[in-house]
Subunit: 455 residues, 3 copies
């Protein structure tokens, strides 16, 4: 087997978790939204690692049932009390302003102001994250306890923002492989200062892309860093002719906490990536969460809309909406850790290794077992209880190398990690006991005991 | 969508449970059997509510492997002690005589008489229900404690009955819908004074039929009130040419107690009615009982015989044979209650609503999501945790409106009640986001992401 | 139905367990290996019961990826201490020598000797069973406690054995049935003094073969008594043209202990024998172990190699490797018992009865039920709760006699033992309610409600 088609080298750096964390920390303070300079500034940071292509889609551009909204520019926002003190200040935390709020400059009593303030009564010390996309609202977010402590009186509410013609911005990076068939890796870039959601995903994919550049891969890898919903829709609308090339895809968000791991299957439910990612997580964690598709979440909603129905799943650590830090000011840099970023990275690399490495072995000695003993592949003492276990990967691989099982099929059936089976298959191929009957992850008609045509 | 094809109006009457109970109570005292005036008299009561067609099938008529037995007429029956007192009296409870007993008039000692007496030693105060169809027996049923207390001596046993040429009687009612395709609703009418089994089913179906008369339905609804086994066989033998029209069917018995609900699937196991009724019960009760078909029970045995194999299931509250009142004098009017009759009625109406309402939606915006927000169908604050839940019915319906999923498919997949999905689909259709790609419950080839021809 | 095709008569002998045990006891002391006189001597014992055909395959013969190894002859083996006493003596237990050891005659200190000694530290009083097939080793096995008690010093290790050109020996017996289609029953004959593994299997199959001789069977039964792995490979290599005749097969080993029962499915997983044996065990034991195929174990490894993929499973009581006596000197004649041998025998006979007896009934009265009552096949009192149960076998059989279900299908669906359904079907056939629409266990296209062509 040639060097093309393995990505194991991606795992070599010991401080990778720290590097990913550092990038996440750099982009954390930026106030992103679905449009505006926050996205551009974030892409600038990512572009220091990879040759990012940045796209601008003008406001008003029609995108299927949607159109690009006005560009949001936020300069300042605060609530000032009668004494002129800023009791709520956008400059200290950009979650304080409802994201995409229209401008306001008003004096109003606390009772009136309250209608524009969001808090979390059950988590009274946290600031919630709220948005007002595609609506004409303005508002603030703050800690419930802080609001409760505000004395009655007149307050000045100022949001120095504008919503004007401009454009939507997204970034794209393509790593060309030996074929035009693509793996899509997508992360949303629209959330402001939320570390896990999704500084973690942006930083992880950027570092992955940077390292992939030195690999010779079979697939081409397309990275998309786009605002949630409207950004993915923009990408799909502008690349409609190209989506047929997407053979596998993964939306990546919330990969810096220690929970999960969680994989939400593509709408197809039985796509190769659904099987491969379930396999990775089952061997990486004691109780991973594997969810069937549902039409709520991140940009898998768009990729899996019925007119596209792409084989794209969602990878997270803790599932969104299930942990108390979700969409609050507690999703900060303390919530994510280098070790979790590194383990998430390893899971994605394990997935890519399956995508790159899956092939269809065909036994050259299909009648009875091959004699592994004389090739040094089998414990020579038949009565040794431990000896059998060591040989199981060889036995399973040979037994199922009938042209109807790929390496992933074999790993699933044998309940062995893919890498163990892939290593066994390589050794068996070197000894002439297997040949490659086909090499890709396309589902095939499975015929027991017969070999397919070479693909 | 036109008014045709919805039966929700059937749910409007607040005192419906009382009305069904009242009819059950009126027919409870009648001594029915598989033939004879008890059936005719019961049909007379039902005919006060619906235009019932009454059929008479002469004794001796060949019906597949069976023939119509003689007509049973019972006038009186008793056991008299030496003092001339009736110690067992048919006039006080018609369960006292073994149903379909031949005539007898004999003086015999208690030891001899015992051979003709059935009791329930484990339920010593209850009178059992026993029959002697297609056999030449006579006998009495009584409470075990009462029998034990009888002093030895000579007793007079009298059954003033006759088994003579006559006919088998059944009733039928057809509600014509927009199509000739039929829904069969069938209840057995042969049991004497057993309230749940099956005064409840007869009364419920009669009231349902009466109310359906004001509805414009897609299906035609055929109601059959026939003696168990031989009556259903008679109906099938005389309507063999017509059974191909039966698209869905339900046998209804024991629907007045508070147990269950229970649905026993058709022999096919995957008929549309099997899925629809399971769906109804799963949303109507916390732990409904869904049983696979087995060839014992009520008239689904005949409808599901291999030569017919109709899509007919059985609906009950408590499953027959599993509760202590079953086939005893404790199955009386205290055992059934208006509220349970009403809830059983509602479950059947929910089933009919699915049969009438299931259609195949096709999204007009299959590529990416539709923008629900600007149509007021989506919470405008994306960060609001509760907002998502409200929109799930819209999201599921649109995501699966690919021409390969009917509304029931969507409801099953989304784990939402059918009515919620049907309402969502109606709204989406009104907003132009869906069109109807087909409208019936026929199973189709499911093609992901492609629309079938309009059916 | 003719007398051909039932093997129930095989169950008539009360002392069969004792007879099987006696044969197992007679062959227990023999030192078998994969080649050599131990196998020949064992076959001689079996040949006293059946007309065994004995095959010799010369050393060096090529067999797929293997070749026949040299023949092993062992005359004596011991370890002698400085005082000239045999502290380990092959004559007292043939497990003491590593099976297939090459010759040695050496004086060496205990420390050196230890490298050639195998013990079981966790079971310190037991002698392990070890082999050195296809390798150039010599060694001894002994109790760990005994080894620990040996004083330091010089020892003499002698294995008076030879590995020379000769042949591999296996035995074969064919019981001809009405057809050439074969049932393969295979037991390994290479283990030395291990009572359960596999004196039990050899003795059971020999007695089964002897008794089958008096039966008229539909299938031909081929018994193979061959050394593990290389013996099965030899048989397959020399009978490659014949394996297409094998319709069902079972490897039998470890059938004398009281555990299990255990059935390991064929590689196909859905072969008829997989269903039939699972059915037998489910009705014979409260919690049988039914395992999916895995490529480790006994000679099902060869029969189920991908180039053959035969429908051959493995039957055991306790699963190999899961009980402490496995491959130790504790697998002696105390570990197996006549009653367990007899019950294993009964399970295999129950399997053969299904293979012989399965047929496809077709109802002559498919429309509505047949009237069982007038034929005395149905309880005449419909209200009798116990009556229904008695009739269930008739009802299930008739309901599923649509030409698409064989008797085993019906037994599985009805959760009734095969024999109960087979008896019911025979009675129904006698009464003219069923005819035979086909008779063999071949999987067919199942068509609901239609009869297949007669097969």
């Amino acid at each position: 087997m040639s060097a093309i088609g393995s990505v194991r080298g991606l795992l070599e750096e010991a401080d990778l978790g720290d590097q990913i964390f550092a990038l996440a920390a750099r982009i954390f303070p930026i106030c992103r939204s679905i449009t505006g300079n926050g996205v551009r500034s974030t892409l600038d940071h990512l572009a220091r690692h990879i040759e990012l292509e940045v796209h601008e889609v003008p406001s008003g551009t029609e995108l299927f049932d949607w159109s690009v909204p006005p560009e949001w520019t936020i300069r300042d926002a605060y609530i000032r009390n009668a004494a002129g003190e800023r009791v709520v200040d956008f400059r200290s935390c950009n979650l304080h302003v409802v994201n995409y709020s229209g401008p306001v400059r008003a004096q109003l009593p606390l009772d009136e102001l309250r209608k524009h303030i969001f808090t979390l009564p059950d988590q009274p010390d946290l600031i919630p994250y709220r948005t007002s996309y595609y609506a004409d609202h303005w508002g603030f977010c703050m800690a419930h306890n802080q609001l409760a402590a505000l004395p009655d009186g007149l307050y000045e509410a100022v949001i120095d923002a504008s919503l004007e013609d401009g454009s939507l911005t997204y970034g794209e990076y393509l790593q060309r492989g030996a074929t035009d068939e693509e793996v899509l890796l997508s992360a949303h870039i629209c959330h402001p200062s939320l570390a896990n959601d999704n500084c973690s995903g942006l930083a992880l994919l950027t570092h992955l892309a940077a390292r992939l550049a030195s690999m010779k891969t079979r697939y081409s890898y397309r990275f998309v860093f786009a605002p949630g919903t409207i950004g993915a829709i923009a990408w799909l609308a502008r690349n409609e002719h190209r989506v047929a090339r997407i053979r596998h895809g993964l939306v990546v968000s919330g990969v810096g906490d220690g929970g999960g791991p969680t994989y939400k299957k593509s709408r197809r439910g039985d796509a190769f990536i659904d099987r491969a990612m379930a396999h990775v997580l089952q061997h990486a964690a004691t109780s991973p969460t594997i969810l069937d598709f549902f039409p709520y979440g991140y940009d898998e909603r768009q990729y899996c809309s019925p007119g596209f129905n792409l084989p794209v799943g969602l990878f997270q650590r803790s599932q969104f909406g299930t942990f108390p830090e979700y969409h609050t000011s507690a999703d900060n840099l303390d919530f994510i850790q280098p070790e979790h970023l590194a383990s998430s990275y390893r899971m994605i690399v394990a997935l890519l290794e399956i995508l790159e490495q899956d092939w269809w072995p065909l036994s050259t000695t299909p009648k009875c077992e091959a004699q592994l003993g004389r090739r040094g592949l089998y414990s020579s003492l038949g009565g040794d209880r431990a000896g059998a276990a060591k040989s199981m990967a060889f036995l399973w691989t040979l037994n199922l190398s009938d042209g109807g099982h790929s390496l992933l099929d074999i790993a699933e059936r044998a309940k062995l990690p893919f890498g163990v089976v892939a290593d066994a298959a390589r050794l068996l191929e070197e000894r002439g006991l297997l040949v490659e009957a086909g090499r890709d992850a396309r589902p095939r008609l499975r015929v027991q005991g017969r070999a397919p045509c070479r693909g």
